[in-house]
Homo-oligomer: 127 residues x 2
DNA sequence: TAATTATATGCAACTTAGTTGCATTTGTCA
DNA sequence: TGACAAATGCAACTAAGTTGCATATAATTA
């Protein structure tokens, strides 16, 4: 039998945030959101809730070379276009990686997950 | 005229290390190497040398979801197979990403760089 | 609806990765 | 062998994330 989860205000708010947010967010942004909802949740609690969601495969953990993690709700296999100028993150759907993974399997490596991100300039920031 | 670089013992040793190392290493490993060479270089200096090599595009900076950076000498476009069990890192050559980047360009995003890593189990660790 | 209790939280203190300012040292080149 | 820019060391700092432990609270059940 699974551990039963308690629907605390912090957990409900964070779940709601992830459901309504499209781009990958960091702990700081989560705390800011909680503050805006008048919840003064301790950062330790935030880390623990995020950790729980991550370990239960509800959210994904990403790194964009910033020296910290970002999180987003798990969705269909996709990758990110990260603008180095304005930090906008766009999604791109997966097309090729499956094939790639088959080639790798032939070499004897068992792929469990992958990460693919593109860095550059979005439409606006090229002007 | 470019800044003239001084060939200090630390810089020479670190350059040598990168030239002789195949898999991506972190700051801790660099310091361990320096110690093994009887150099008790301060960590600040190590960070500064690595930073210099990175900014001068001699080495690449990578993230494998560990909450820290790893570095390797720049070489032909390739990706990594990271074993979650024994931390061995294998290289795979790039096949598809160029095509992918062309598709992305059509959408108006200007790709400057990308990162692609696969996580899973190497041959040995599957037994 | 009150007692029970596992689950969740807050706090303070800690760790690890990386950074900054400033005084001192050291390669290099003339 | 000076002179001086470049590099280093030190100490103190920041930022991200973690741990132990005491307290609080959501949810169950009597």
């Amino acid at each position: 039998m699974e551990a039963k989860i308690k629907n605390t205000p912090a957990r409900l708010a964070i779940t709601q945030l992830f459901e309504n947010t499209d781009s990958p967010i960091d702990i700081e942004q989560i705390i800011a959101f909680l503050r805006s909802k008048k919840l003064k949740t301790n950062k330790v609690t935030v880390y623990r809730i995020v950790d729980f969601l991550y370990k239960n495969e509800i959210i994904n953990r990403l790194e964009f070379g910033e020296g910290k993690f970002r999180y987003e709700v798990k969705k269909e296999d996709h990758h990110h276009l990260v603008c180095s100028n304005c930090d906008v993150v766009e999604d791109v759907s997966d097309v090729f990686i499956d094939k790639f993974e088959k080639d790798i399997a032939k070499k004897g490596f068992l792929v469990k997950s992958h990460s693919l991100e593109f860095f550059g300039l979005c439409k606006n920031c090229q002007l």
